[in-house]
């Protein structure tokens, strides 16, 4: 299936060469525009781009492309998990472990063990302490027995898990995807939610399951109970994992927690323009909007920006023409504002398009959809584990058109 795998960095050097790929890479102006599937006379190249590395797999025969893409992402996730980051240096530093991992993850091109729990039992992740211990004692990083999870129907959990403290934390993270048009009305908005969790057998109940338009589950969730009782019942994996992701559809009105007032205009024939953006909170249920960052891709004709902000700091990248304004917290009393002039290339025609604003923000202790974890019951434990639920609302792909 997957014939071979190459890792290539942005400038195009690493393990082995792959001509066709580079050709396509050169053709595409932007790294994101390299087509994920490239057909060559003898092979097919399927690639993903993650953290400035291209993972390119070579396949020879028909295989569902998503199969390969999903696997490559799983590989990248595993590297991230093992080395803390999925960077070129991290991979170079751990070439042997990378090899060992890939050896376990693929057998003749067919995915073998992709569950991080199993892999961690087979190959222990590198830590400084362990490498010291290993070099003194001569013990190895390899597990000697078959990971129990490999055999069971619940591969995400190891057979005997013992913790000194048994805790279950749930993070309900909701992201608002929205497109807001020029006049400030919402074109499209939906909420994407994620439930992260930590160990023990548990049943969680959420207040209004009807809110959720569409859900996808970690395999540990018992689908039947969800279907019949709308209860999430599961034997969770160890460590962090994504329990469910859900979507609250655009049919339910999504409350947009911020509004933006903006004037971005370019004067005809004067090679300058105006830029004035104000951001303010609305409908945030008494919670403060934090971590606000506004990013604007300015037109190519823009030379420089001369701005003053009432709050936070801004940077303008004259190469990429990106202005980033780190606002921080919004206080309703004094609305943050960024104002100034735009210098255009002399002689260039007035830019036709208006840039759109991408906004990031965070609201602690609020799930914008109104979703709540009502109860969390744990079974099979003699002592009382610590439970905690945290809510965060974030901006997902939040775009304001101007």
């Amino acid at each position: 299936m997957i014939h071979s795998l190459f890792l290539i960095n942005c400038s195009g050097e690493m393990f082995l060469e792959c001509d066709y790929f580079f050709e396509a890479q050169e053709k595409a102006t932007d790294v994101e525009n390299v087509p994920p599937v490239i057909s060559t006379p003898h092979h097919y190249l399927i690639s993903i781009y993650r953290d400035k590395i291209f993972f390119v797999s070579v396949i020879q025969t028909e295989v569902p492309p998503l199969f390969v893409i999903e696997f490559l992402h799983r590989v990248a996730d595993t590297f991230q998990d093992y080395f803390g980051e999925c960077s070129e240096t991290a991979i170079k530093d751990n070439v042997v472990i990378v090899y060992e991992l890939l050896e376990e993850m693929l057998d003749n091109g067919f995915p073998l063990a992709t569950e991080s729990n199993i892999l961690k039992e087979l190959i222990k992740p590198p830590t400084i302490l362990r490498s010291v211990v290993n070099s003194i004692t001569g013990s190895s990083n390899m597990g000697e027995t078959l990971p129990t999870g490999q055999l069971s129907n619940i591969p995400w959990r190891r057979a005997v898990v013992k913790y000194t403290n048994n805790e279950a934390y749930f993070d309900v993270i909701e992201e608002i995807d929205a497109i807001i048009d020029k006049s400030g009305s919402t074109v499209f908005a939906e909420i994407q939610g994620v439930n992260h969790g930590k160990p023990s057998c548990a049943i969680g109940q959420i207040n209004n399951p009807r809110l959720l338009d569409d859900v996808s589950f970690h395999p540990c969730i018992r689908f039947k109970r969800w279907e019949s009782e709308r209860v999430l019942s599961f034997i969770p994996p160890d460590g962090n994992f994504r329990l469910i992701s859900y979507r609250v559809s655009s049919q339910n009105l999504v409350a947009i927690p911020v509004y933006v007032k903006h004037i971005i205009s370019f004067k005809e024939n004067s090679s300058s323009g105006r830029f004035d953006v104000t951001i303010g909170p609305k409908q945030n249920m008494g919670k403060t909007v934090e971590g606000v960052i506004v990013t604007v891709h300015m037109p190519k004709a823009v030379l420089n920006m001369n701005l003053t902000s009432t709050q936070g700091s801004y940077t303008f990248d004259p190469v990429l023409k990106v202005i980033t304004w780190d606002v921080g917290k919004i206080t309703p009393q004094k609305l943050p504002n960024l104002k100034g002039t735009v210098n255009l290339q002399a002689g260039a025609p007035k830019p036709e398009e208006n840039p759109s604003l991408n906004i990031q923000f965070k609201i602690q202790q609020l799930a914008i959809s109104g979703l709540k974890v009502n109860r969390l019951d744990m079974y099979g434990e003699k002592y009382k584990p610590f439970k905690g639920v945290k809510y965060i609302t974030k901006a997902g792909k939040f775009q304001v058109r101007t």
Binding site: Y49, E70, T114, L146, I154, F188, P219
Partner: protein, 1129 residues
């Protein structure tokens, strides 16, 4: 660390090494291409310290990773293949796999080590030995590999079997001559029942022998049922394979619609089936009588894959989506849209692939994605390729109702910075305009406005699109043409210029004044134009010459002369050709006369259509679909067959005993369908009736609902399996008589084949069948033969039932007189329903004690002494027994009968996974609960598949609704691993279908469980005569009477079928009846003893009327529903 100083020094000495990038010797690698450097590696490999070896191997692997050749170290490395240190070993394996093909002779040295490894007690070592052995691409060891694979395929450990499955394609790619032998192994592994193996073996199947679809038949249902528990990668492969399989085996669920639609060839369906009917009474008749009935196996596949839409793995979701797209009835395809839209949140690569598929789907099934229109709106941050795909989808989704919003969106896009995207948007607008006539003018106006856009690319693209639009209705738009003619001065993009020129030429009669002027200008700049423009200038000149030769004759001459000496031969050719054609000379012939017709012929308007049209002939989600060309190794998605192949090939012969060899720690796993797919008992019931075969074949719920399945036989086999003993001698002796009987019955049985799939399927999961290679028909026979015990059960019970009914009816006839007397003597007792129950109580207890003694007499000691475990013995002997006891007729009249058709449909109480190895199932045994007649007996079976003993199994802390009582079963002190135990507990549901909730406690855990009874189980059968029945019925009219009309399906036209179906649905007894088309049943509720009377009257044809009389209206209503569903097709 011990090693590092040594080579550190050396490195300093040589100084030739490449820059060191890993400072930690344990994780990095220092290496050099210097030949000498390998000497120290060799030394390290030869040393007897594992740490040194490990170090060396790590450096070697790092070299391989950098693409350096390390093959000269082969001999030194191979020696270490037997190293004890597992990490060294693994790295040696990595090295071996990489270089074995180059150094075949040396590689052979390692083979014996692997052969030893294959016998290792540690399954991990066995597996990895096989993995490496099969990865060494040395042709000489093919026989050894073959042997190893065959051996591993029957290994105890499923993990090793999985590895064997992985090894198959490797060996096949090394030596394709081994195909036949490998197919045998695949066939063997396909019958494996562990989820671990399933995915891998299907993968091997796809690589080695995808054309051998016949190997799947026997495993089809198993694969469907296991699917949800298979690891995600395996799921993808299996789903893709099953899609292909289903296309060959089932009929198109949309054929009715396609009949109505444009497809005229398919109209012949009907007649074809007419013919087919004669050959294949089974399958074809089914298809013919109803327009279309979905094969239960087809339904099974659709239902079992549906939950996987919730998978976190995008590949799985896509696989299910394509399966639904290709296989599901039109009405059901919609469910996939949601899941696909969800994937759009994922990584951009995933989005790319998903959008490609959505684009294809949205052409065929536009309505499916319409609700999600806004999810395809484009953000300025999307990569261009994603933008263009989203645009494609939006365009496909455009229709009259949403076009205005879409156009508004498009207007935003046009102002984007991304020019490729803007061009694509303009084309999209053009497509919307052609497809939706209503907005054509709006679009055209919008596009014309774009002509004054400053960006030339935008203008050019608009011109091209406008040209196409104008072609549709040129007469109304001469203004636009004029406007465009003016543009020639400004616009420089060749394609746009060419388009304008063509337009002017084509519609020169609309712009008679401007056209020659344009030609004049173009003639002036002719030499500087691009080729494509020059060709159009020549075209324009020719057309003008033909329509308006007075003004343009000279210009045309001039242009043609210029073209004559052009550098491009195409242009020279064209000029020469046109000159000959239009300028009349003496030589020119007839063609000249037709020149006008040639040039100014009516040209068909271009059709702007999606590039994704017709892509769906590739299997969606496949590489081929994405590339729109056939990829290597692509398996065509076959067309639906015109008539369904014989569905019986998927039947699996069953064995009465469990296979002794079981999966590690997963005992009993194969008996149940994964929890996800099950629904609650009530839901199941409903669904069952709607699609009767489907749920039968699911096999999870036990066989009882189908007409001729026999509870007795099942419970027999269960008790056998529980005790682990071989089949009882009694059934063996019966088989002879059964054989004789089976002859006459075979006819009838064939008719009911469908119905029988239920029980047969029930054994599918339990039987450790080895699929034989016999012919299909033979298998059919064999299935029948193997099924004997079951038929015996049937024979037994059938006869017992007959016997019972005969004796009963005779008695009832004989005592109808006496009964009349009795009714006179005891008038009150008849009026109220209580007397029978009070009478019945002592009877029941007597019977209960009798049973137990019978059990002791019969050789059933191995089975737990439960009344339910051997009902067949009881029920047959009971009748004789009762006769032997010379009970009076009157007493018989109101006896609570032991049910003949008890529902041993098992329900799951606690899933193995939830119960940490303890799984609990329950069924309603329909036996009277001895300690308390007001309780329903629930037969609970525990099986312990965990590794530890379960102790102190008991009920505690029942949280019951008011009125519900519960009689706990005696505590089970301990249940050894692998053991099963059954108990009976009584629950008084107080005549409601409320669930009884309680906790099951073990020594360490407690589980919340609940039992919910179907309404039919809240009844106890009552025997009464027809007269009595009518009398009681007379009292229960008005509000207490519920009537329902229904149509009996073909399957239950016979008396027997109807009676059986009713009796399966509810615990009732039949009332003997004089009339031919009337069936009466009587029962009373267990708690309050209220009578429940069921009357089913057959009218002419298939119509029937169902009447239920009961004081308890709720029960009556629910019962009506259940019975109607039981009788539905």
């Amino acid at each position: 660390m011990s090693a590092s100083p040594a080579y550190g020094e050396e490195k300093g000495g040589s100084g030739l090494g490449e820059p060191e990038y890993g400072h930690d010797p344990a994780s990095g690698g220092i290496f050099s291409s210097d030949y000498k450097r390998h000497d120290d590696l060799k030394e390290m490999l030869d040393s007897n310290k594992d740490s040194l070896k490990l170090e060396a191997m790590k450096r070697i692997v790092a070299m391989i990773a950098r693409g350096k050749n390390a093959s000269d170290l082969f001999p030194a490395v191979v020696k270490n293949v037997a190293c004890k240190n597992i990490e060294v070993k693994k790295l040696v394996y990595v090295y071996l796999v990489r270089y074995a093909e180059e150094q075949q002779d040396l590689a052979l040295l390692s083979i014996s080590t692997f052969q030893r490894g294959l016998k290792d007690p540690n399954q991990l070592i066995r597996a990895s030995a096989l993995r490496v052995l099969s990865s060494i691409r040395v042709p000489i060891i093919v026989p050894i590999m073959m042997l190893a694979i065959k051996e591993a395929a029957s290994d105890m450990s499923p993990y090793v079997r999985k590895t064997a499955a992985h090894a198959i394609p490797k060996l096949y790619s090394l030596d394709s001559d081994q195909k036949d032998q490998l197919i045998e192994v695949i066939e063997k592994l396909l019958s494996d029942k562990t989820t671990l193996v399933a995915g891998s073996v299907v993968m091997a199947f796809e690589e080695v022998c995808p054309e051998r679809i016949d190997l799947i038949h026997k495993n089809y249902r198993k694969l469907c049922n296991l699917l949800i528990d298979v690891e995600e990668w395996g799921q993808v492969v299996i789903i893709n394979m099953l899609t292909r399989y289903a296309r060959t085996q089932f009929l198109s669920p949309n054929q009715n619609e396609s009949l109505l639609e444009e497809n005229p060839e398919k109209a012949f369906y009907g007649s074809e089936e007419e013919d087919a009917k004669e050959d294949k009474p089974d399958a074809a008749s089914l298809v013919k009588r109803k327009p279309y009935v979905m094969d239960p196996d087809h339904r099974l596949l659709l239902r079992n894959t549906k939950p996987l839409l919730q998978s976190r793995n995008a590949a799985v979701v896509m696989a299910v989506a394509q399966l639904y797209f290709h296989l599901a009835p039109k009405a059901e395809v919609g469910v996939i849209a949601k899941a696909l839209v969800r994937l759009l949140r994922s990584h951009s690569e995933v989005q790319y692939v998903v959008l490609q598929n959505v684009a294809t789907m949205s052409i065929k099934r536009r309505g499916m994605f319409e609700p999600y229109l806004k999810s395809f709106y484009i953000r300025s941050t999307d990569p261009t390729q994603i933008k263009i795909l989203k645009l494609e989808v939006l365009t496909n989704l455009a229709n009259e109702t949403n076009i205005s919003t879409i156009l508004r969106e498009f207007q935003t896009y046009i102002r984007s910075m991304d020019k490729d995207f803007v061009a694509a948007t303009i084309q999209a607008i053009g497509r919307c305009a052609t497809n939706i006539g209503k907005v054509r003018d709006t679009c055209l106006n919008g596009l014309v406005q774009l002509l004054s856009n400053r960006d030339e690319l935008v203008v050019a693209e608009s011109v091209v699109v406008i040209k196409k639009l104008l072609q549709m209705q040129p007469s109304q738009h001469s203004e636009i043409i004029k406007h465009m003619a003016k543009l020639t001065d400004n616009i420089q993009v060749p394609m746009a210029r060419a388009s304008i020129l063509w337009l002017i030429g084509e519609y020169c009669e609309h712009v008679p004044k401007m056209a020659p002027d344009v030609l004049r200008k173009m003639a002036k700049s002719f030499t500087g134009e691009e080729d494509i423009v020059k060709l159009q200038v020549i075209n324009l000149a020719a057309k003008l010459y033909l329509t308006n030769s007075k003004q343009s004759k000279l210009l045309t001459q001039y242009v043609l002369n210029l073209a004559k000496y052009d550098q491009n031969y195409d242009i020279r050719d064209r000029a020469r050709f046109i000159r000959q054609l239009i300028v009349p000379t003496e030589k020119s012939g007839v063609l000249n006369k037709y020149a006008k017709k040639l040039f100014l012929a009516q040209k068909p308007a271009p059709i702007l259509e999606s590039s994704f049209k017709d892509r769906d002939h590739f299997q969606l989600g496949s590489l081929s679909h994405l590339l729109n060309t056939k990829a290597v190794g692509y398996q065509e998605l076959p067309d639906w067959p015109d008539e369904a192949p014989d569905p019986s090939v998927r039947n699996v012969e069953e064995e009465t005993s469990f296979p002794l060899e079981s999966h590690i720690g997963l005992l009993g796993e194969h008996r149940e369908v994964p929890e996800w797919t099950k629904c609650t008992s009530r839901e199941k019931r409903k669904e069952k009736v709607e699609k009767p075969f489907y749920s039968d074949s699911e096999g999870e719920s036990g066989p009882t609902e189908s007409a001729d399945s026999e509870p007795e036989s099942v419970s027999e086999s269960e008790s056998e399996s529980g005790s682990g003993s071989s089949s009882s001698s009694g059934s063996g002796s019966d088989s002879g008589s059964q054989g004789a009987e089976s002859g006459d019955r075979s006819e009838e049985r064939r008719k009911k084949k469908k119905g029988k799939e239920g029980p047969r399927k029930a054994f599918l999961d339990t039987a450790g069948s080895n699929p034989s290679e016999e012919e299909e028909e033979e298998q059919g026979k064999k299935g029948k033969r193997k099924k004997k015990p079951q038929h015996e059960g049937k024979g037994d019970s059938g006869s017992s039932w007959e016997e019972g009914s005969v004796s009963e009816s005779s008695s009832s006839e004989s005592d109808s007189g006496s009964e009349a007397e009795e009714s006179q003597s005891e008038p009150e007792s008849k009026r109220r329903p209580t007397p029978p129950s009070s009478k019945a109580a002592p009877k029941a207890t007597r019977k209960g004690t009798k049973e137990i003694s019978l059990l002791d007499l019969d050789d059933f000691t191995t089975a737990p002494p439960q009344p339910a475990s051997s009902p067949s013995v009881v029920s047959t002997s009971l009748v004789t027994d009762l006769e032997g006891l010379s009970l009076t007729d009157t007493s018989l009249a109101s006896t609570l009968l032991s049910p003949t058709f008890s529902a041993v449909r098992t329900h799951e109480l606690l899933h193995r996974m939830a119960g940490e190895g303890l799984s609990v199932e329950y069924c309603f045994s329909r036996q009277p609960f001895v300690p308390d007649p007001h309780m329903v007996a629930v037969h609970i079976q525990f099986s312990n598949s965990a590794e530890a003993e379960v102790k102190g199994l008991r009920v505690c802390a029942p949280r019951l609704l008011p009125g519900i009582r519960l009689q706990e079963f005696p505590e089970i002190e301990s249940l050894a691993p692998g053991d099963t135990a059954s108990v009976v507990m009584g629950i008084d549901f107080s005549d409601s279908t409320q669930a009884a909730n309680f906790q099951l406690c073990t020594h360490s855990r407690q589980f919340y469980v609940s039992i919910q009874p179907p309404v039919g189980e809240l009844l106890a059968p009552v025997f009464m005569s027809e007269n009595e029945f009518k009398k009681e019925q007379g009292k229960l009219t008005g509000m207490s009477e519920i009537t329902e009309k229904l149509t009996l399906p073909d399957q239950c036209q016979s008396d027997q079928a109807i009676v059986q179906r009713v009796m399966v649905a509810a615990n009732v007894s039949r009332v003997p009846c004089g009339a031919d088309h009337v069936y009466r049943f009587a029962a009373k509720t267990v708690t309050s003893g209220s009578l429940v009377l069921i009357t089913l009257e057959r009218k002419d044809g298939a119509r029937a009327q169902l009447t239920v009389n009961s004081e308890k209206m709720v029960i009556g209503t629910m019962l009506v529903q259940d019975v109607v569903q039981a009788l539905a097709p």
